[in-house]
Assembly symmetry: C2
Homo-oligomer: 311 residues x 2
């Protein structure tokens, strides 16, 4: 989802950090269509954990590499071997391949996650909070961050890891991620469909829109590496909001009728998982470096309407 | 060094955590002699990153596994590939092999290091300080900790990672580790030999004796896992001391004559490395769990005299 939106944006702008894009290679494990672009663009289906594939990809030395490939949280938990192979070995194979090319040191933007953190949480989580992942996905992202920092320190690549908030409102159909309801309770009612809410209304979490997430990636790609001072992993800004805030944001744009499509079906398993997620961050470093996100959940809903429903 | 001392201790006591030892397998990349023990004991030369070797080793399901194997800090920095292969792939191959054996969940004691931490440091580092390694060695240890925590959370092994202080006074000959002088300036003068001191006298660092380090390993092996509450990585206690404290401890046992064998030869490269090392910890969790170390550098010197010089 994020990769697709990033490509749309790059194609539309034709430049990145003020520099014209001359070529773009996409790689995904599933078929993606070759973008219609004003520059050379290719798309291949391949497994990022395959070192030969990665060697081919970086052989022509792209200036910027976005590494978004990941087995998502739920799948990484259910299928441990695949999660480690893609999320850990995939990242390492990419980093090692780049490191193996003499005199090549591209900006590498790595999409990490707030899943690197685990409870107990303070009310607001600062930039120096220790990583203590509670899932295999979070563990794999935390390991990716460590590798990125070490390879960058050695001058083998020029990495920036950005810890993404929960991206909301996701377009498309509901998925089975434990976090899926955060998007569903906005998206489905806006389409006149019922959505299930499995947690209490006072459940608080940390969000950014897909549009902000793409902005984070673009900003990270163009960031002056000297400003990072050896600390390559940045917690991204976002909106701290409760489910009640979400519901009021929905009501503001679509009225009581939409809100009535939210069915409260408490699910203790999901509530337990979500209760272990962070509520709020104070991402001062990222803000100081010029990253910014929405100011309210109302804004997040408005962006969904603009970007997905064309209104 | 530590492995040898651990084996000596196990052989002498014949038990671990109150349970008689029935068998002991040693594995090292260099030849080690088979210990004379009151139980079955074997020693093999092998590479821990070789999955077949590991499979053979854990096939008879030892109750406790001590994973001390590591390429040391200086070597891991100089030879990146070897460091990652042994320190990361070696640990992962061990963890994966154990995880692959149905119904087997041994206590695994992993020797980590305070090298997982990096500056800026507070005056005293608490248990919740974030890991931010400044070396490949520290990165590899931090990754080992993350893997150990995730595999333990999944019930695939019962891990405890202990972050060792700088072990001092190391027996044997000087080595080329940047930290080597901390031991040399005590050890060499006690043997009537000259030692080089490359850093200022007010350089402060965090130490424990080899005897304490062995105690840490034994205590970690027998620790009630329920007390860890999902937090599997423990910073070990130690002594915060300056080079001046070391010198006074030497003077107390061996007089001015020994102290005069210390030659001050400032080395900016070493001073710069050492200036990025932590000075002091507040390892409350480990202390609460019953780990303990020396109270002063005098005590560390006394232990060297007792354990290495028989006095």
């Amino acid at each position: 989802m994020l990769g697709g939106k990033l490509v749309e944006r790059l194609v539309r702008e034709g430049s990145l950090g003020g520099v014209s894009i001359s070529a773009l290679s996409l790689v995904d494990v599933v078929e993606v269509s070759r973008p219609e672009a004003p520059f050379a663009a290719g798309a291949i289906v391949a497994d990022i954990a395959d070192r030969e594939v990665v060697a081919d990809l970086v052989a022509h030395r792209p200036d910027v590499v976005f590494h978004l490939a990941a087995v998502v949280s739920g799948e990484a938990e259910a299928d441990m071997a695949t999660g480690y192979r893609v999320n850990l070995d995939g990242a390492r194979s990419l980093f090692d391949t780049i490191a193996g090319i003499d005199g090549y040191c591209p900006r590498l933007v790595f999409s990490s996650s707030i899943a690197v953190f685990g409870p107990p949480f303070p009310d607001s989580i600062g930039d120096d909070h220790p990583t203590a992942p509670q899932t295999s996905y979070g563990t794999q992202k935390a390991i990716g961050e460590l590798l990125l920092a070490d390879y960058s320190r050695r001058g083998l690549l020029d990495g920036v890891a950005i810890r993404l908030p929960t991206i909301c409102v996701r377009p498309g159909r509901p998925n089975r991620a434990a976090s899926g309801f955060f998007s569903s309770i906005i998206r489905e009612p806006l389409h006149g469909e019922v959505a299930v809410l499995p947690v209490p209304d006072d459940t608080r979490h940390w969000f950014a829109s897909p549009r902000s997430a793409v902005e984070f990636l673009l900003h990270a790609a163009a960031l002056d590496g000297d400003l990072l001072g050896g600390r390559r992993c940045l917690t991204m800004p976002g909106v701290s909001a409760t489910v009640a805030d979400e519901i009021e944001a929905l009501r503001a744009v679509a009225g009581d009728e939409a809100v009535e499509l939210i069915r409260r079906e408490p699910d203790e398993a999901i509530a337990r998982i979500v209760s272990g997620w962070p509520h709020r961050f104070e991402p001062h470093r990222a803000l100081d470096l010029g990253f910014h996100a929405e100011q309210s959940f109302d804004e997040i809903v408005r962006i969904y309407l603009e970007d997905e429903l064309g209104s």
